[in-house]
């Protein structure tokens, strides 16, 4: 039965992705001005005949619904169009940048969970202790702080003042690394490259912290409040009455149930990680998707913006699918 439900849940994502593609296409049409004019504005003078040729090459002379159909057909095959400024396929440019972005998001999520889970548990168990109050105040600050500002403060403190960590980029200049997957941390492990591993990890710390702080704050709060509620339940009292060790009561009986609402929140927060990505990549000059998009917006490279927004949305939809499936394994009662 579970497999059927999982497949059903997967099928629901198909119309959503279709809708996302349509919305992104309509975005493109909202823009004032003709794409070929914009393109020519960057490429220099071209004859009228050449512009007509380009218009028909991009199917801009077709009616809107035909354009939409062609756009969707291409998108399904992974063809997201052609970048005006870089003169290369959008999908290729995105694929090239994506590993850096995923590495950063993974780093941020890792940091957030590493911080939030122990804090959430301890705060719930030691309610109203100094640690609880201190960490909940911290969580409050975490959600009220813009990521770009936190990034700048971290740079001022740890890079400019203390010289502990690098200001920008993914690797120190001069450190060589053989390119395997595009995930620098993984690549340096695969190629047994010690200096590159140290350097790439050092570069990852500050961006991950600035991106993950808000997520950590939210996850810690949710985990704490659901732990507090569960620790009051009868079955916890029963477990204690049966003489179960307190550590196991908390970690086994309570935590497993408290993780259920937490997982949902983590799924929703993947949106924060993806959106904040553009901000944090800009602050730390991280060569990922977000920085490319921001640059593309100022260069009016619409196919590149359009393709990237679509990839972000798809990633979010897929991440939530994974979370929902994970959910069924955590809580057998849940129906998708």
């Amino acid at each position: 039965m579970r497999a059927v439900k999982v497949i059903e849940r997967m099928l629901i994502t198909v119309p959503i992705m279709f809708g996302v593609a349509v919305v992104v296409f309509l975005f493109m049409r909202l823009t004032p001005g003709d794409p070929v004019d914009i393109m020519m504005g960057q490429g220099g003078a071209v004859g009228v005949g050449e512009m007509e040729r380009l218009r028909s090459e991009f199917h801009l002379d077709e009616p809107l619904h035909v354009q939409l159909w062609l756009f969707l057909k291409d998108a399904v095959r992974g063809d997201l169009g052609y970048s005006y400024t870089q003169k290369r396929p959008v999908s290729e440019l995105i694929a090239q940048r994506l590993p850096a972005t995923i590495e950063l998001a993974a780093g941020a999520l890792f940091f957030a969970l590493l911080l939030a889970i122990p804090i959430g548990i301890v705060s719930a168990v030691r309610q109203r202790s100094l640690l609880d109050q201190f960490s909940m105040a911290g969580a409050f600050l975490g959600v009220s702080m813009p990521a770009f500002w936190l990034g700048i403060i971290l740079i001022l403190l740890f890079s400019v003042r203390l010289h502990w960590l690098p200001v920008q980029g993914r690797l120190t200049f001069g450190v060589s690394l053989e390119y395997v997957t595009g995930f620098y941390v993984l690549d340096s492990i695969l190629t047994r490259n010690g200096p590159a591993l140290v350097s790439s990890l050092k570069h990852l710390v500050l961006p991950s912290v600035s991106l993950g702080a808000a997520v950590a704050a939210i996850v810690a709060r949710v985990l704490r409040s659901s732990m507090v509620e569960i620790l009051r339940q009868d079955y916890i009292t029963l477990a204690r009455a049966k003489g179960q060790v307190e550590f196991l009561v908390v970690m086994k009986h309570a935590l497993r149930n408290a993780l259920i609402p937490t997982v949902t929140v983590v799924g929703l927060q993947i949106g924060t990680l993806l959106g904040g990505n553009m901000i944090v990549e800009t602050v730390f000059s991280w060569p990922g998707l977000g920085r490319m998009v921001v640059k593309a917006i100022f260069e009016r490279d619409f196919p590149l913006v359009q393709g990237s927004v679509m990839v972000y949305a798809f990633t979010f939809v897929l991440a939530n699918l994974v979370v929902d499936v994970l959910y069924t394994y955590l809580d057998p009662k849940i129906e998708l």
Binding site: I16, L141, F148, I279, I297, A313
Partner: protein, 311 residues
């Protein structure tokens, strides 16, 4: 009974009803005040927000210097407490010699205005559509709910950045980009509450005495759920202010020379190594405002609607 006395009676009845309503409202506000006083952090948050609003309204009267007038002879003066600081430029000056304190005060206008307008419009649109969808159900509900699901497939900031990319920067485009997705949460909240309230007895009673459907929605059901909307709205305000600051930081929001905190932080980045105050201080202005709004909002939730969950 002639027409005049009927009209007089109607007016007298209405006056009576409104007297009772006002008395109830006064009583409720009194209770609210007592509850708020017992929550010092929420009260503090509320007071700070009021101070920000006053500063924004009377910005022209209280700024020590012109916020947009640059004087390159006064470039990058550090805050008054640092060596080389000048007491008349309390928080120092920026790279164009403009007084940072004045710019921060004027910048409060953008943040508060964007926060209030984007949340206000989202509340109005989301509540109206949510009430209609939840009460009448049917095709309208289906269509709106699917559209809402679709918007939820985009991370908020990605959607806003995408829209700003295509619309171009500017104040009203910013409001449009933020509300285009912002209404969804209020829609879902009100729709859900509507579904829960509709089968209740008081709604049936209103139908029996012959009230029209719009009247039932507006004067019977909505007053019961408006508190949740109010709480959610307050809590979303801080979020919207951070979104505006983020867009302005990227250069997609409010454009220079209008001072906005996000773009002030961005322009300070280039001077990070020598002049830390330029990006640090506007960021602290954002932090304190959003923190205060959230403290007040959480207090409001505890008082008005403790079961509401906001993530």
């Amino acid at each position: 009974m002639d027409a005049t006395t009927t009209a007089q009676n109607a007016i007298a009845r209405m006056a009576y009803v409104w007297r009772i309503r006002l008395r109830l409202l006064r009583g409720n506000l009194g209770d609210f005040w007592i509850q708020l006083r017992s929550r010092p952090l929420a009260l503090l948050g509320g007071i700070v927000v009021v101070l920000y609003i006053l500063a924004a309204i009377f910005a022209e009267q209280i700024v020590p210097h012109d916020a947009t007038l640059s004087d390159l002879r006064l470039r990058l003066i550090p805050p008054a407490w640092q060596e080389g600081g000048d007491l008349s430029y309390l928080l120092g000056t920026d790279d164009q010699g403009r007084d940072l304190l004045s710019r921060i005060i004027v910048g409060a206008r953008v943040s508060l205005l964007v926060g209030l307008l984007s949340v206000g419009i989202s509340v109005a649109v989301g509540t109206a559509l949510g009430a209609l969808a939840g009460y009448y159900r049917g095709f309208l509900d289906q269509a709106l709910s699917r559209f809402a699901d679709l918007l939820l497939a985009f991370p908020f900031l990605i959607f806003a950045i995408g829209m700003m990319a295509f619309l171009g920067p500017g104040f009203w485009n910013l409001i449009l980009a933020l509300t285009f997705k912002g209404w969804v949460e209020f829609f879902r909240l009100v729709r859900g509450e509507m579904l829960a309230e509709k089968p209740k007895e008081y709604v049936e009673a209103a139908k029996v005495v012959g009230q029209s459907h719009p009247a039932i929605i507006a004067s019977e059901i909505l007053p019961n759920i408006i508190q949740s909307v109010f709480v959610l709205g307050t809590l979303r305000m801080g979020f919207m202010i951070i979104m505006e600051a983020s867009l302005s930081f990227l250069g997609l929001g409010i454009q220079p020379p209008t001072p906005a905190w996000g773009s002030m932080v961005a322009s300070g980045r280039d001077y990070m190594l020598t002049s830390w105050w330029m990006s640090t201080l506007p960021g602290i202005a954002i932090l304190i405002l959003v923190l205060s709004i959230n403290l007040f909002g959480e207090g409001l939730r505890d008082i008005l609607d403790p079961r509401l969950k906001v993530e």
